[in-house]
């Protein structure tokens, strides 16, 4: 007699994800968001008060946009790496993983559950910041228009739709980053190591476009170096692809095809790194 199969279950995965999210909520992780939001609004108002002048309305809006997006990218990356590593290791270090994995739970369900939970936390963060930024931009645009009704004759403010697309792309990028952090965590013994490695990989991924340029010139140099650069370029995703903010202010807005391509790129990397993480976690001794 063979035992009944236990298939991979999305239900269990989402249960683990929900529990992970709940942990973040109950550990007051979101309190940090409120502080950040307050700091951001104050900062944006402060910088606006002294420069630009009335006819540079568009420039002032652009500044607010860049300022807000910069905060989203910076704090989002930090939050993604630290929260993912923390939510994973709290389970290992408190030995709650022992009880959970002694149930009929696949290791893949554990990894993807942790991933989805952490990604949801980052998602709430992104949504909040996007909403805040949209509000700031709207408010600023009204001020500019009141001072100079013709301010937006040559190119208006960033369209709300574009703002959302730009921020969603950042969130997708954070998904890739979270999965990379989990992959490191799946074989590392300490939280600190995973966080440090996470930041290291983040820097590499942002420098990828240089590697791609180098790759373009690699034909001329030796085969070995060319091969190395080529491999590096494949292994680490290029985070610059998610940065469509430059287009957002311009005529025609964000290129939808490019955005979709970036989304597909992100999901591919999430799954590839996800399977690697499951593979390395599969034999980990709990």
């Amino acid at each position: 007699m063979s035992a009944e199969r236990v298939p991979f279950s999305c239900g269990r995965t989402s249960l683990i994800a929900g529990n992970t999210f709940l942990e973040a909520v109950r550990q007051r992780l979101f309190l940090f968001l409120v502080l950040l939001a307050v700091a951001l609004v104050t900062g944006a108002r402060f910088f606006q008060s002294f420069d630009f002048g009335p006819d540079l309305g568009v420039a002032s809006l652009k500044f607010t946009f860049d300022f807000g997006l910069g905060a989203l990218v910076f704090f989002g990356s930090t939050l993604t790496i630290t929260a993912t590593a923390q939510l994973f290791f709290s389970e290992i270090e408190n030995r709650t993983a022992l009880t959970l994995l002694a149930k009929p739970v696949w290791r893949a369900e554990f990894i993807f559950g942790k991933f989805l939970g952490a990604w949801a936390v980052v998602g709430v963060f992104c949504a909040l910041l996007t909403g805040l930024l949209a509000g700031l931009l709207w408010f600023r645009a009204r001020e500019v228009l009141a001072a100079n009704p013709e301010a937006f004759l040559h190119g208006g403010p960033v369209a709300p739709g574009d703002l959302v697309i730009v921020c969603v792309l950042q969130w997708l990028k954070f998904g890739v980053l979270a999965m990379i952090t989990l992959l490191v965590a799946s074989f590392s013994n300490t939280n600190l190591f995973s966080v440090v490695m996470g930041f290291f990989v983040l820097v590499i991924c942002h420098l990828q476009s240089f590697a791609h340029q180098a790759y373009a010139h690699a034909e001329e140099s030796s085969v070995a170096i060319g091969l190395m650069i080529k491999t590096l370029a494949r292994v680490f995703p290029d985070f610059r692809l998610f940065d469509l903010a430059e287009q957002a202010g311009h005529e025609g807005g964000v290129n939808a095809a490019l955005a979709l391509r970036a989304a597909a790129y992100a999901l591919t990397y999430v799954f590839v790194f996800g399977f690697l993480a499951v593979y390395s976690f599969r034999r980990r001794e709990i």
Partner: protein
């Protein structure tokens, strides 16, 4: 299906030649936690795994649960290799010194595990309440697990191990940190699980309790099996009997000796039986609680 599985596999757990080495230090040094262990836990029995600290009991249990991979040898649970998720379908596990999600309440915690184990949706609440009641945590069910005392953690761990009605229950030191009344409750619960046809694997340093509840025991020492057998055979002495009577005056005692001597027998010892401390504890606590209950309307 479970009854069929039991009869198809007389062994609930089968360990064959299991060895587990842990790497220690950087120079490839190894620590042998379990050494060539072959063990059968028959279905439907209560099996005690004994041994001094560090003898490999918990390691063995983790191998059974597929949390650790044996260096050599194989392990099956109801015929299914431990490495497969399927082997854990019908298993409840209480880890040693358990620790749970401190941000959940006791009821939420048990509920979470019930859902993970696939308890039918409509039965969550009733089932959670039932097991919390068994382990005596109903009053603290809505408190955060982070505020629980050591014994309460042990109890909620027991609730989580039983919530999905498993056929095999593995308890790693269930009585560590639990008060004598709770300990007696746990013994009762183990006997009830056995009467329902379930298999229980238990480790404990309370040998008196092990003796009361276990059908079979195995003793490990430094990872090696040094003794295995049925408790009744190991502790029973068929050639001796103890008779307990009211205290006899010296004269009658002497008469008894002569009566025995006439039949060629010897009275080996005369002792005053003593009440066991745990009996006194249970009696006094029960009385105090009775008084409290009367005092409080």
């Amino acid at each position: 299906m479970s009854a069929a599985a039991d009869s198809a596999h007389p062994s609930a757990i089968e360990l064959r030649g299991v060895t587990k080495d842990f790497p220690v230090g950087l120079r490839g040094l190894k620590l042998r936690a379990v050494d060539n262990l072959t063990l059968n836990v028959p279905a439907g029995q209560v099996f005690g795994l004994l041994g001094p600290n560090g003898s490999g009991k918990s390691t063995t249990i983790k191998i059974v649960l597929g949390l650790l991979e044996p260096t050599v040898g194989e392990c099956r649970v109801v015929g299914v290799p431990s490495a497969q998720v399927e082997s854990r379908r019908n298993v409840g596990y209480l880890p040693e010194a358990p620790y749970f999600y401190r941000y959940l309440s006791g009821a939420e915690l048990v509920r979470f595990y019930a859902r993970v184990c696939g308890v039918p949706r409509g039965r969550f609440d009733a089932r959670v309440r039932e097991v919390l009641d068994w382990v005596g945590l109903t009053g603290a069910a809505d408190r955060r697990v982070g505020t629980y005392s050591k014994g309460m953690l042990q109890r909620v761990g027991l609730a989580q191990a039983l919530v999905h009605d498993p056929r095999l229950v593995i308890l790693d030191e269930p009585t560590a940190g639990v008060d004598p009344a709770g300990s007696a409750d746990i013994s009762q619960m183990i006997l009830r699980l056995k009467s329902e046809g379930r298999t229980v694997l238990i480790t404990s340093h309370l040998l008196a309790q092990i003796e009361d509840v276990c059908d079979r025991i195995a003793i490990l020492d430094r990872g090696r099996l040094i003794l295995e057998g049925a408790v009744a055979e190991l502790v029973g002495r068929r050639d001796r009997q103890a008779l307990i009577v009211e205290a006899l005056p010296p004269g009658e005692l002497a008469e008894l000796r002569t009566w025995l001597a006439a039949r060629g027998r010897v009275l080996e010892s005369v002792e005053q039986p003593r009440a066991r401390l745990d009996e006194i504890f249970l009696r006094e606590v029960a009385r105090a609680e009775g008084v409290n209950r009367e005092a409080r309307p």
